[in-house]
Symmetry: C2
Subunit: 195 residues, 2 copies
DNA sequence: AGCGTAAGAGAACGGTGATTCTCACGCAAG
DNA sequence: CTTGCGTGAGAATCACCGTTCTCTTACGCT
């Protein structure tokens, strides 16, 4: 089998296992079994478990944000796009096996001992923040709002995971809606509609 | 040395190490060394590492909420008490060694494989939610607001930890202040927002 | 067909960690 | 004093895990 396809299968297996059970709870042998690759191939493609963990996080970051953006872009209006973030969150929370933010979980588990993991988590949050800032800006709202939305998103993910309560997404959305109204009232004509 | 004092020293050592580096990254031998107790004593007081982890989480929950409540109660007015939550958060974030929420971290690391850990984390969030609900109620605000505050608090903790940015507390406080104003305006008698 | 290379299966290695066991010792009761 | 229990220090045990090595097989190329 070609290397690229095996790399995909390995990363698929790693993602399912790492996300579902935690980084340290999953051994290389289990990833080998789940991916169908041999240990030798595994180590050829990823020279160590650390490399595999980082690759898992990097790929998940890209896919997670692409999925979010995909849903958001179904909405035409700027404010609806912002609210769509929370609807996407809600559908994610309701997926079986939802277990919170892979990056926050990984940060909590290994952030203190692994620079790459800590950096990957930070990059992910940073990228999310930038994305929210863009949505907020395109909707003609103040940049300040973006940080509030980030807090709501992160808070909803954490709360939904720990309390196993997908309604956190709905509540976050309603809170965001109020903030949006408030922001419209206070800075009515701050930015032109679209860039 | 009496058992109670040793138990305290063990839990102190466990808390520092578990919180600072993660549950699985810390071995019993290290806790033995840091606490000064013997391995035999350690296992007498906590029959397994799982027991010690749970005891660590339970004690930390009580202390964490007591510390929060202590700061909050310095404020006389209902709304100031709510805002004091975020000021307390800010001073926590600025402490050296701050590494996010012990419960969220533990949940991410072992929540999938350890019921006691998952339950301890959930209980902690639940207790925090109840506390916020009480503050909100005592300030004469709608119960709805409490859940929004919970999202802001959790979001601020996560963001501050991952992005190493203690300003998340300030932003969460300002967001909370706006929500408070909005809630005053919508629920009943109140002054206009202060702009 | 014959040779060289790469691959897979799985054993082996080196290290670590949770938990238990050994042993020598202090001390209290007889 | 002696006996026996509880203790601390640390070795021993048992299992697991990341990583590497071995051996055998399969295949490409000439």
């Amino acid at each position: 089998m070609e290397a690229a396809a095996q790399e995909t299968r390995i990363l698929d297996a790693a993602e399912t296992l790492f996300y579902g059970r935690g980084l340290q709870a999953v051994g290389m042998a289990e990833i080998r079994d789940a991916s169908g690759a041999s240990l030798k191939r595994l180590y050829q493609l990823f020279p160590s478990k650390d490399h595999l963990v980082e690759a898992y996080l990097r790929r998940r970051d890209v896919r997670w944000r692409a999925s979010l953006a995909g849903h958001v872009e179904d909405q035409p209006s700027g404010e609806d796009r912002i609210l769509a973030v929370f609807e996407w969150l809600g559908s994610w929370f309701r997926e079986p096996g939802f277990r919170g933010c892979a990056f926050v979980n990984s940060f909590g588990e290994l952030g203190a001992t692994s620079e790459p993991v800590a950096i990957a988590a930070r990059d992910h949050v940073e990228a999310l923040k930038d994305y929210l800032a863009r949505l907020v800006s395109e909707a003609g709202h103040s940049a300040w709002l973006a940080q509030s939305l980030l807090l709501l998103v992160e808070g909803a993910i954490t709360t939904a995971a720990v309390s196993d309560d997908s309604a956190a997404a709905d509540h976050a959305r309603e809170t965001a809606r109020k903030l949006l109204e408030l922001d419209s009232a206070s800075s009515s004509s701050s930015a032109p509609g679209r860039g």
